[in-house]
Every structure is written in C-alpha cells, then in structure tokens.
Symmetry: C2
C-alpha cells in the first residue's frame, strides 16, 4: 500500500534518485519502506498544478468544500487499522494515542466542513449607497474574505495526524479555498502517504480540481526550501522547532514578494503555583503535573516546561511530591533517536548550569529511544540572570523555579519570551491578590489557564493556539480552531458592483442566509 | 506655535544638534521653522514611556478610549485655520484640500471612537464547558482580541493629515489599545507638530497615561530605523513608496523578535475599458478619467496609472478625447521638488521605452514644482514583455495599453503585480461576457470598482485599502475603515477562568451588551 512516491496531484511519481527511510523507535530499526525525494521538476509541476487548481477551487461553494473535507475524514477512517499500525511504526506512540489523534484530525476536518457549509466565516460586510449624501454621494461597498492562493504545509514530528498531512493547517487552508501542498515530515512519510491517498480519493469522489492537494517527500531541507521560495506559493504553515520555523520565515520574508508564514514553534508554557493552592492541594497538583510533564513522552508544544513558585515549606513539599510522582511513571518511547539525543543534550546543558539541582530523574536502565523524565530546581535570581535556563527542552522535562517573592516572580514572567500558554494554579480566594502576576502572564502568552494543565488544546472557536514570538511567528492568528482559516484569506471589496455579479455572500437578498455586518450593524 | 521640538510623551524636547526645515513648493522656498532630529537617547526614552503607557492604556475601557479619540478630533478642529495654513505651506495643496482631508481625519477618529464605544470589534468568542462530555470533559474557553504593544507610525508624504500624525494608522492603533510613536514625515513636520499638540492635549484632558502618544522628528532614515529595531516596539504602520516600505519590512523581519509591518505601498490601479462602454460613453469616461488622473496632482496611491483597452476605433477616439481633456486641465503643484523630480524622471524613463507614444503632455511653461500631466500609449505585446512599463510613476500620469484581444488583456492582468484597486468600465450588458477578465483582476487587487474612478477611498467598514504585494506588505489587512484595527491586536484565550476575573467582554452576563460568538452561534 505504501509506494514511497510523491503525490503530484493525483499522480504517484518518483523520478528522483535520492531515497530515504523512516525509523521505528520501539523496535530500534528502520522501517521497510523506501521513499523517493521529490525532484526540482516535480516540485515545479506540483506548484503549477496547485496554481491551476486554485483558479477553480477558490470558486467552489461552501457546500462543495464541506463535501470534500467530510470525504477526507471518511477516507481516513476507511484506511482502518493499517493506518494506525504505520503511524505507530513511524512514531513509537501506542495505538491508543494513534486512535485519539485520528479522532482529533477527523473532528478538525468536520469542524471546518461545518464552518464552510454555514458560511458566516467570510466576514461579509456591506455598506449600502447614499446617493443623496453631501458633499459627495456615498458609494455601495461590500467586502468579504477570499482565499489567497496555494499554501505549503509542513507536517509536525509530534503529531503525524493532527498537525500533519490532513491536519489543522491543511484543513484550514482547504476550507479557505486554497490548494495545499504538503511537505511530508521525514519521520513519518509512510503515514503521510497513506493519509495523502485518502485526501486524493476524497478529491476525486467530490470532483475537486486536479492539484487541489499534493504530497511531496524530502529527507532534508531542499524540498521545503524550494517550495517556500516558489513564486506561485502564497502562504506557509509550519509546526515544529524555532530553528526550523524561523528559517522558513526568513526565506519567505526575503522573497521578492514576501508571503505570510504561520509557524507554531517553541514554548516552555510557564505554570505559576500560588502559595495557598500549593499549601492546600499539593498532592493532587503534583500528580496532575507529573502526568502532564510525561504525557506523550513530553512531546507536546504545550508541555509544562517551567513551574514558578514562591519559596516556602509548602513549595518544598510540592517539589518532593512531584519528584516522587515523576519517578513512579514508567519511561516511554520518543519519536526518533535524534529527538532523544536533542532531549538528552538539552537536559544535560541545563543540569550543568550553576545553581541547578536535579530533583527527579529516572536512573534505571531503560529501553533504546526511551526518555528518562527529569525535573530540575533553581532559584529565581539564577533563572533571571541565565537565559539559557529559559530554553525549551523538548521531552518529559520541567524546571521548577523557587522565587524569593512576588516581585521576583513578576520580573521572571516579564523576561520570558512569548509562550503558547500560561497557567495559574490558585485557590479562588488568593488570586485577587496576584493581579500583577496575571497581567504579566497575559502579556506573554496566547492562552491563559486557570487550575489545569497546559497539555491538550481543545478544538473549538475560542481556542487560541499561538502566541507572541517565538511561540508563533505571528501572534495575530491561531493554528487550532475554526479561526485558523484567517491565516489563508484576504479581504476583497466590491465597489458599486452589479448585484448579479457579486459573490452570493454579498448579494442583496443574502441567498446563503449568513450573518453579515450591514451598515455597521451585525445581522444574523 | 511651532517649536521644532519632539514630543516625548507630553514633553517638548530637542537635545540633538541635527536640524532641518520643510519646504513650501508653491513659494519655492524653505519654510521658516527649524526642526531638531530626535537623538538615540530621546528615542529610547520615548519607547520606554510608550511601553509603560501600554501597561495602563491596554486596560482602558472602550468608553475611555472613545473619549480620547473624540477629544483628539476636537483638539484638531480647535487648531482652526492656523493648522490649515501650515498644512498648505508644507504641501502645496490648496486650502479646500486641507479642509477636506481634515474632515476625513476627524471622521476616521470618530469612527474608531464609535467602534470602541460599541465594543463588538473584539470578536468575543465563548465556548462553555461540558463537564459530562466523554471521553474527557469539555473545558470552558473564551477568546477576545487584545492590543499587542507600542506601535510606530510613519506619516505619508501625500496625506499630511489623514495618513499621518493622527491619521488612520494612529487612530486604529490607539483604538486597539496600543500606544503610538509617530515618526513625523520630513516634508510636513510643522503640520505634524501641531497635530501632535492636539493629541497630547486630548490625552491630558482625558487622563490618558503619559507616553500613550509621542511624535519624533527626523530628516533621514536614522530615527525611523532605530524605532523599528527597538525591542519594545511591537508593530509598524507605514504609507509610502515600495522602497521605503520594503526597507522597514526587512528591518522588522530581521529582528531577533520579528514584528508585523503593515506598509501600504505602490499601485498603478489598472482600469479595464470594455468595448461597449468605450463605444457608447467615450466622452464622459474621458472627462472622468482626466479628472481622476490629475486629482491632487496625481498624488494618490489610488491614482489610475494604467488604462487597459482592446484595440478598436472607439478606443482610439477615447485616447484622443482623454488627451484633449488632460491638456485642458491646468497643471498643479507637487508636494516637494524631490517628488517632482521623481515624477519627471519616472515619466521620461517610460517615454524612452521602445513602442511608447506620448499622446498628452503639458508643454507650456509652468510654475516651479508644478507637474506637467502626461498620458502615454503602448500596445499590449510591448507592455507584456517590458515590465519597466508596469512601474508606478507617482503623479498626474497614466499609460494606456491597447491590447490585441481579450486573451492578451487577461495575460496582462495576470502578469501585473498586486494592486490596491482594479476598475471595470463596462455596460451592464457586456460585462457577463468578460468573466475571465474579472476573475483575473479580482486575483490581483484589494478593491474592485465598477464604472467609477479609483481615486477616493470611502471610510466605512466595507473598505479594503490594501492588496496583494506590493500594494501592501500583508494582503490580509486594510489600512482604511474600522477593520484596520485588526493589524494591532492578537487574540488571547482564557481557559476555565473565574468569571469575576474575566474581561467584561467575556463575562457570563455580557455587561457590555456586545455581539459574541457563543458555542459557535453569533449572538447580538
């Protein structure tokens, strides 16, 4: 079923000579499939197809796009257990995670299908003419969002389904009306090809134009770089490291025609532990955070990598309890030997910094590619002065900072880089005394959480998955939830345009029955 | 009344030694006032003040911000005729234009005041909890737009009021809740200082924090560059040339923390003249376009610099009529000798290209700094092959392209760079035959106009002033209309947040009575 070839539109092609394989971290051996990297000619052909598809696909109705998105979900489900097996072989994740992530992917596709079927998302805005206005008549003006062109999506290592081939970036771009070219993540190309086959089948069943979706393989950075530089590509979605995201952002910004890149990158997701909560519910928070730190072997962008508290006996007990809980949990497998290597090196670098103590670390012998979860402690002053300690260690890891007082806690929050999430653990009675802490945290994060864990990002309209740089490359957008569509669209105005020639969304009689802003009043 | 100093918050300071003057193009002599460029220390002080102001100003209510914006409008009006006189002395524009542009500026300020007083603009989105959901409970999640920090605004040469000191960028950023630092345009620094004094007075009368607004002078690129590179600056608004806008975009993209730049830059605003319209209404369109080409000495970003028609006798008659109308109009003054020089050189460069004919050009002797309006003609093939002919000539200038047929017309439109506007001149009966032309044009522009002229950009929610690069640096936003606020805000989500601590916009009982998306249904 896995051919190792590229999907150039619906055609499987592999004219290149560069090949590579994926790796099974649980078995600690290469997977059997051989993948062929896309050639420069194949890349050109793919982008040209996407650009042609754009001219047709942008005009598809919401109903047509919804049928396509729902068909993708159906076809992914139709791949059944074989898809889950390949996913597990290329990620080391257990089958339960594969099922859960597949469910999330399906939910995302169907959410965007519902959104385009309903149609409100285009932000239709109408200002009718006032021919009698003095000194000059007011024109008729109408505005709505339209797709801006072919989008390149880079799959994420840690979400082979939900943030990859048919994940949130792809679903949102297809919902917008933009054709998608996926650069498959090199760690799970087989999973990618299978999901791509589902998208292609769905496109054919729902009569979508050839080139509306393609899937290219590449082992290094060449294929991705060529795609981002291609003049007909108009936007980029990426989930991964700061280094990778920034490189693509720089490439895109330096083009003769710069294009938007939405890169969801690093985050250490600070958690503030307020005194009363730690005093009263130390044990339950220790258990919850031991679970959150190690969930998915810590391979979440929302992994809580930084716990901030104010020095006290209660905080010391919490540290002890968390350490015990952490050491009780069985180590689990990482996605790939290089991910494990980065984890081990990153952790070591922090352990070697002055003033850092290791309070929990699995020492027993563990299986190849399994990660030894670790918790470190440092005082506030040291953390404030040493920005190396602010760096993300991707994996089951957290650094606890014992602050001298509230002022130091606020100073630390203000010095942090942008984050996806910020969490406050507090008793309701005490939180009112910490408005300075909350204000500082709000300014640094995309999502504020009260008495919970940051792992998990609900798929719903109110989700903001993004944040100030480097959590994301543009804090004005989200990667999760239906508003993620706004990354791939631009507004267009129609001035004194004949009613019959207007898009249905803007016509006088509102044939789609959508919510519109008419003469500055929201109508439903 | 004009001191020549910088407004660092409410303080007038001029510790630097670099000075410069503005120029009166009508009198062809320097204006009397001496302006002092801001020093690096003054720039640092200004940004630090803005950053402190941000912490307070971001929490101001819509009512408070509306009072501030309305007070700015009041204080500008209170400057009376003296302000108009300085405007005219620094721009060469007549008093009627000064009054008109002041009116537009006031309208913009009051539109944003109304927007924040009403409060719907924050896109409040609420998803309530489902504690019983399986397999895991649904959390409560709420999202709204918040200001992202101090914004630097660069004034435009051609709109000393409406796109400068207290123009659309400043009004939208202040409405968002972002403090503003204006880098005053060097051609109208006196006008800028007077308007700045009005903003400062308004800030004091409405108890805004010190540093919510500053106004810095600079003769070259040093002050602007330092502002854009400053780590505490979080966004940039610019209106001007492609060269200037791109330079700022590059600076901002290359920062350790890249920041968004909304630059509204060049556009030649293609106008498509369909055959029947030209046959039936040649004279009236010739008159309308002679007026649009020369309006404000052609110094509009929406000036119609490119007229596209299909070869016919009717088109030839239109060319003759337009040429006659153009030559009937008295030449007028440009903003500055350097603007005139760029106009003359740009025009000459195009006139010297192979295959280009000059069909209208004022030849009689004209006053210093006055521009000789010009119309050129070229055939479609030559235009298609020579992209130099696609360049903007800023001033009273237009190039008519005689296409061989519709296919060539479409090919030309597809090859154009991004544009602010695209216009179709047509009889209603014929437009249905040109859907390919319309589709091509829609893909290249921000605003489509039917049977009108592109000059003039109505201030209303449906306006899109922007477009694909290089019309603007990010086609996803507008510079005109209330939605311009979206350039300076980011969404923030609150997860399971205590109701009493939520911003009013997101509280259960909707105390502000705003329109919100609740569980994916729009409510009013």
């Amino acid at each position: 079923m896995i051919t190792g070839k590229n999907y150039i539109g619906s055609q499987l092609k592999a004219s290149g000579s560069k090949t590579f394989k994926t790796f099974n971290p649980q078995l600690n051996e290469e997977n059997p499939w051989v993948f062929t990297e896309a050639t420069p000619d194949e890349i050109d052909e793919t982008v040209a197809l996407a650009n042609n598809a754009y001219k047709v696909y942008k005009n598809c109705t919401g109903t047509e796009k919804a049928a396509f998105l729902n068909a993708i979900a159906d076809e992914i489900m139709a791949l059944g257990d074989e898809l889950l097996a390949v996913y597990c072989a290329e990620s080391g994740f257990p089958k339960g995670r594969a099922e859960g992530e597949r469910g999330r992917t399906i939910l995302q596709l169907r959410s965007f299908a519902d959104m385009v079927a309903e149609g409100n998302w285009v932000e239709a805005t109408i200002d009718t003419a006032l021919p009698e206005r003095q000194p000059i008549p007011k024109i008729d003006l109408r505005k709505m969002l339209v797709p801006f062109g072919p989008v390149v999506v880079f799959g994420a290592s840690n979400f082979p389904f939900a943030y990859s081939t048919a994940g949130g970036d792809t679903a949102s771009a297809l919902a917008a009306g933009c054709p998608v070219i996926v650069k498959s993540h090199s760690m799970h190309v087989g999973t990618g090809e299978m999901v791509a086959s589902a998208v292609i089948k769905a496109a054919q069943k729902t009569n979508m134009p050839e080139g509306v979706f393609s899937n290219l393989n590449g082992g290094g950075v060449v294929v991705g770089g060529s795609l981002v530089r291609h003049p007909l590509v108009k936007g980029v979605g990426f989930t991964g490291s700061i280094k990778g995201g920034r490189a693509l952002f720089d490439l895109a910004s330096q083009r003769p025609e710069p294009i938007p890149v939405f890169a969801e990158m690093g985050s250490i997701n600070p958690v503030v532990l307020l005194p009363q909560a730690i005093e009263q519910k130390s044990a339950s928070w220790a258990t919850a955070y031991a679970g959150s730190i190690t969930l998915g072997t810590g391979q979440f962008c929302t992994n809580p990598g930084l716990l901030l508290g104010i020095k006290s006996d209660a905080l010391s007990s919490f540290v002890t309890q968390l350490s015990e809980e952490i050491e009780k949990i069985s180590p689990s497998c990482m996605l790939h030997p290089t991910i494990l290597k980065n984890f081990t090196n990153g952790k070591k670098e922090l352990q070697q910094q002055d003033g850092v103590r290791t309070v929990a670390e699995i020492k027993s012998e563990i299986a190849p590619n399994y990660a030894a979860q670790t918790v470190l402690v440092v005082n506030g002053k040291t953390f404030l002065e040493n920005t190396r300690l602010h760096q993300e260690v991707f994996g089951p890891f957290s650094l606890i900072v014992e602050c001298e007082n509230e002022a130091e806690l606020i100073a630390i929050i203000e010095k942090l880089e942008g984050q996806l999430t910020g969490t406050i653990i507090a008793e309701e009675a005490e939180i009112i005394n910490y408005t300075g802490v909350i204000a500082a945290l709000q300014n640094r994060v995309g999502r504020l959480i009260f008495n919970g864990v940051p792992t998990g990002a609900e798929v719903c309209p109110s989700m903001l998955h993004g944040g100030p740089y480097p959590a994301s490359s543009d804090s004005r957008f989200t990667a999760v939830g239906i508003h993620a569509v706004k990354r791939w669209v631009r507004p267009v105005s129609y001035q004194n345009w004949p009613n019959a020639l207007l898009p249905a969304e803007l016509q006088d009689d509102n044939p789609l029955g959508i919510s519109r802003l008419v003469n500055n009043k929201q109508t439903i």
